[in-house]
Subunit: 249 residues, 2 copies
DNA sequence: GAAATAGTGTCTTTGAGACAGTATAAG
DNA sequence: CTTATACTGTCTCAAAGACACTATTTC
């Protein structure tokens, strides 16, 4: 990182002071409601000079240099402001930046994605947050009408989520503790969009040893099931991959 | 993305115009030389007001709003300026931003990582690029003396690379075409830092069908071997994961 | 011929997928 | 007892790991 333009020095510095791109943070917040993967969207205001008025967008906005110590702090703040959730599963997704994605200026956004249990949320309506709501991911992706490049970003987030769910315990972060294995299995099935074999699922989950037993839970069904808590609520378990030496387990 | 501060409107807008964080791009460029994974570093200049003078750093710098259409374009430009390579394998790694990582201001950097064959490179010395050189990754990580938070970034890049190598064809991008399977195997072994079984390796590579035969190549050994080219030089092949239905293959 | 590396065959083990079967609750 | 769901057992098959073996070149 030279932090120096290849063009002339003094002019470059002056430009830098006054024409930095916008720096924003957006958060793709997922949950599961009614057996469907949902994403949180915010409706944009219709003021003068506001881009994409009335359109739905991912929650996010400018980094507040005075408030946010890091980009991740900024993402956490935005998530908390909209949902009231304090310790979500949060993972960086990537960044998108170009001259055209924001009609006002060259802008770059840093994007996180989060998984939260629906029960933990209290949507922050009114006040500054014009309108906030959950939307079924599949229908949003089809419609393709979000503000900025948020359709692209949402698409990337869903792909990342679906692919990681194949080999990690991510869906566990969509549940409140304690939860049962059948409940967890349903989260996998909802996210993946296909049924999962019960037997294989159970052996796999228990083999990964990221679950701690927590008594019996009278679920919503006839027979109660064993309840579980996560050993670590920050990091997901990763199921064995290929190409690893057998001794490495 | 509301793009509006929660604080007062007019003042917020004015602040936004004049106190955006720095937006930079850095590139972690990997290659293999002498059977070791190497990373390209640039020595920082010792001018007045220059942070970390004389220290080694990842190549990168400010986004040039007038030149770069997108962040990725910016990354490609920086990579080309230092190496002369036009079409590397390039993948976004993530972004790092905080109030403290740059002593001059709140700054956020977008990081890519690249894989290139050592033979393709012509290091751009002199002129503006003070000093550019390859370093063995392992020793750089041990020393822990890079500028900014580049030690952290390099660490993350190496972890990402090593983990993806377990289930993708990434190491193929470290070779010039045509290459042989034994050469490719050596790339895997260098990156992973452990030996790989020949037989399993071959069946796996050929099963993934991302290679096209390209005649015989008199390698550096006694017996010539079959040469291969990549079917797609942009995207790596992904070897089968777990949790997929058998019919899905 | 010897040496060196390219490439193949085979045995074992693991674990996923499929599916049938058993256990325990509510009504 | 029936029904519904939690949980377990078993068979098959694919693929990885380990390792011995054959093939083709240079010297």
């Amino acid at each position: 990182m030279t932090y120096t333009k290849s063009t002339s020095g003094k002019r470059a510095r002056k430009e830098r002071e006054f024409s930095q791109p916008y720096t924003t943070v957006d958060v793709v917040i997922f949950t599961v409601i009614d057996n469907a993967l949902q994403v949180l969207l915010v409706q944009r205001r219709a003021g003068a000079g506001e881009p994409f008025p009335g359109r739905w967008a991912l929650p996010g906005g400018f980094v507040d240099v005075a408030v946010d110590a890091t980009l991740e702090d900024c993402a956490r703040r935005k998530l908390f402001e909209k949902t009231g959730v304090k310790s979500p599963y949060l993972e960086q997704l990537g960044s998108w930046g170009s001259a055209t994605r924001d009609p006002r200026a060259w802008s770059a956004t840093h994007v996180w994605f989060a998984l939260i249990p629906a029960q933990d949320v209290t949507l922050a309506k009114g006040a500054n947050a014009a309108e906030v709501a959950w939307f079924a991911v599949d229908s949003v992706i089809q419609k393709d009408g979000l503000a900025f490049d948020h359709d692209t970003i949402l698409q990337a987030a869903v792909e990342r989520l679906r692919s990681k769910v194949e080999y990690t315990s991510l869906p566990a972060f969509l549940l409140t503790e304690p939860f049962t294995l059948p409940q967890l299995q349903r989260m996998y099935e909802v996210v993946l969009g296909r049924p999962v074999d019960k037997s294989g699922f159970r052996t796999r989950m228990l083999a990964a040893s990221f679950l701690k037993e927590a008594g019996y839970v009278a679920g919503e069904s006839n027979r109660p099931a064993v309840g579980y808590r996560l050993a670590d609520r920050q990091t997901p378990a990763v199921f064995p991959r290929t190409f690893s030496p057998r001794s490495g387990q």
